[in-house]
């Protein structure tokens, strides 16, 4: 909580000092120092050679708690981490989660992410959720409320 407030105050102070920065916040084309540090922190985290599956999952769950769409370079690092821990399902799930993070602007942002991570996907042999047919519901699951 304290950290959140601190970040907010920092962001307000930054906006007050430079009003233009307000519009550039978390845009893909423009970066502020804070965002670069954020990206680098997560990229380095996933680039850790000795990362294990537990850490990959924790990193992605943390990332999903932020109000942002992660940069493709972070996603690429996470996918490579999945390769190192030999968890294919994790890689597909991460792409799905990142698609979910695009929110209502998924039609604008998701194709960009796919385009940026495509070389990594091809190199590692990861299929996108679309290639696996997971962009539409595949199986139905009976609701627990309807059982018995």
């Amino acid at each position: 909580m304290l950290r959140t407030s601190a970040v907010r105050i920092f962001s307000i102070a930054r906006v007050a000092a430079n009003p233009v920065a307000c519009n550039a916040e978390r845009c893909m084309s423009k970066h502020t120092v804070y965002d670069d540090a954020f990206d680098a922190r997560y990229e380095n985290y996933f680039n850790n050679k000795d990362i294990d599956g537990w850490q990959v999952r924790q990193g992605i769950n943390d990332l999903c708690g932020h109000d942002l769409v992660p940069e493709p370079k972070i996603i690429c690092a996470a996918l490579r981490a999945c390769r190192r821990v030999n968890d294919f399902a994790l890689a597909v799930r991460i792409i799905e989660a990142m698609k979910d993070k695009c929110g209502s602007r998924v039609k604008e942002i998701y194709p960009y992410i796919l385009q940026e991570i495509q070389p990594t996907l091809t190199e590692l042999g990861i299929s996108t959720p679309e290639e696996l047919g997971y962009d539409k519901p595949e199986l139905a699951l009976q609701s627990v409320d309807d059982m018995h």
Partner: protein, 187 residues
């Protein structure tokens, strides 16, 4: 977390094999110090922290990666995992999907799909409303006496005429709109 542990404790009580509270304590006979959750999760692999550290599975978008895998590690899946160690390009689409379904129950598209239940609710509501209307028409047709004579068009015209003759509400109301000299509505 505390409530989770309490639930596990209760489940442990129900299962005769496990002494009460054993789950919350460090594992018996394992020596690793890790709690033994096998009475609850079977052979499912614990792969992460999940939401709160409890070994539970749930498909949710804010925590996309739950603490345990969805399916137990059967020989089929273990064989697939061995193949997973190699190049992923050699995996067929079916094998990739099997691996995904071993780790996760539902895809994002599945657990975020809107439930079609609203159709049933709207449909049943409309049926009930139409039944009510039929009951009303039935009452009108067979039960209620006919409307009084004063509801006829002639009677209502006569009432209006009388209101005008009495100059009802002459400032802002109906009589203010009547031209008494020409005996017609003002234009």
């Amino acid at each position: 977390m505390a409530s989770r542990l309490a639930v596990f404790g209760i489940k442990g009580l129900r299962t005769p094999k496990v002494p009460a509270g054993a789950v919350a304590m460090s594992g018996h006979g394992h020596g690793s110090g890790a709690p033994d959750f096998s009475p609850i999760i079977g052979k499912r692999e614990v792969v992460g922290f999940g939401i709160n550290g409890a070994p539970t599975y749930g498909d949710r978008s804010d925590f996309p990666l739950p603490a345990i895998r969805w399916k137990e590690s059967t020989p089929d899946i273990l064989a697939l995992r061995k193949k997973e160690l190699g190049d992923w390009k050699n995996l067929s689409i079916e094998e990739k999907k099997a691996l995904y379904r071993a780790s996760f129950c539902q895809t994002f598209a599945e657990f975020q799909a809107t439930s079609p239940e609203w159709k049933q609710i709207v449909g049943v509501s409309l049926v009930v409303i139409s039944l009510g209307l039929w009951v009303y028409y039935g009452l009108v047709a067979f039960v209620y006496p006919p409307l009084p004579e004063t509801f006829s068009e002639e009677s209502r015209k006569a009432q209006l005429r009388r209101m005008l003759d009495l100059q009802t509400n002459p400032i802002q109301g109906i009589s203010s709109k009547w031209d008494y000299e020409k005996d017609e509505w003002k234009k």
